[in-house]
Subunit: 149 residues, 2 copies
Amino acid sequence: MSDPTEEPESVGTWAKRYYFANRSAVDAVLRQHGIGSTQWAVLYELAARGPITQRELGRALHVEKASLSGVVSTLVRKGLVDQAPSTADQRQRIVQLTGAGQAAWDSLPDPFAEVRATALAGIAPGDLATAVDVLRRATEQVENHHFGD
Amino acid sequence: MSDPTEEPESVGTWAKRYYFANRSAVDAVLRQHGIGSTQWAVLYELAARGPITQRELGRALHVEKASLSGVVSTLVRKGLVDQAPSTADQRQRIVQLTGAGQAAWDSLPDPFAEVRATALAGIAPGDLATAVDVLRRATEQVENHHFGD
DNA sequence: TGACTATCGTTCGGTAGCGAACTTACGATT
DNA sequence: AATCGTAAGTTCGCTACCGAACGATAGTCA
């Protein structure tokens, strides 16, 4: 209990470990396609929703604009995505799949689904629902509280 | 249900969101002390366990040696930590708090505890236990399966 | 119209993480 | 004793995340 070598058993610790276990497994699959997990998520979003502003993309993926900027420019450099200024609002940039991007998307697996199937095998649906609920409530309670002021 | 703008409700998504909400809150507190969250965790471990090899530190924090190497050298650069070769095994490096490191540690808050208290307020202990259990099982199932082979 | 203010995206500097290749050191086996 | 395999740390190149400062555009309101 007071043993300092004791594993911490908090939700936060396990959320982190699960997140990184997931990410590492997803990356292992995507590495063979030369793409990162967030890049995959961007392609997913573009394939599902079509052309969209970078701002909307960031909202959908829960990623800050500063982070997204780098991911998008990587995809542009790879020729998978096109970034054009919006005619309606010159501040915005519309992001969409190129032909090559669509072709790449069609040949890509869904590593998140694969990993999820392994991760959650044999876990009772009710327990999953409880876990999601706990994580959502905890996230909200942290996000609605300002630390460091 | 098939609306592509629908929020994904998987455990993985919420584990990620909770992890980053937590990290951002912890960082906001630690930023005022000029230190990062993993750096804090290293100081915590050293304060609790005393001098230790980098390998052991990595095990305790679930961080790869390559990642830890950078964190430790940052702390060495800040003068909070000392890194000396082990006399028993010249390959190993023993990491320990310096005087300044101990002093800094004594003046540092525990942002993880603070944020945890906010995050988990009002959540039933039984639900917390279920959530931890789900995350642990899912993590194990992912880690024991080799993807990308 | 002109002055503020707010928003979108980029860039910079920093933290955190990983795999692969490398160096050095230890150990065992022959 | 020489060799071969393994272990500890570092470095390199990469993904991904953030806050803060910045330029450009848009919107508001006096």
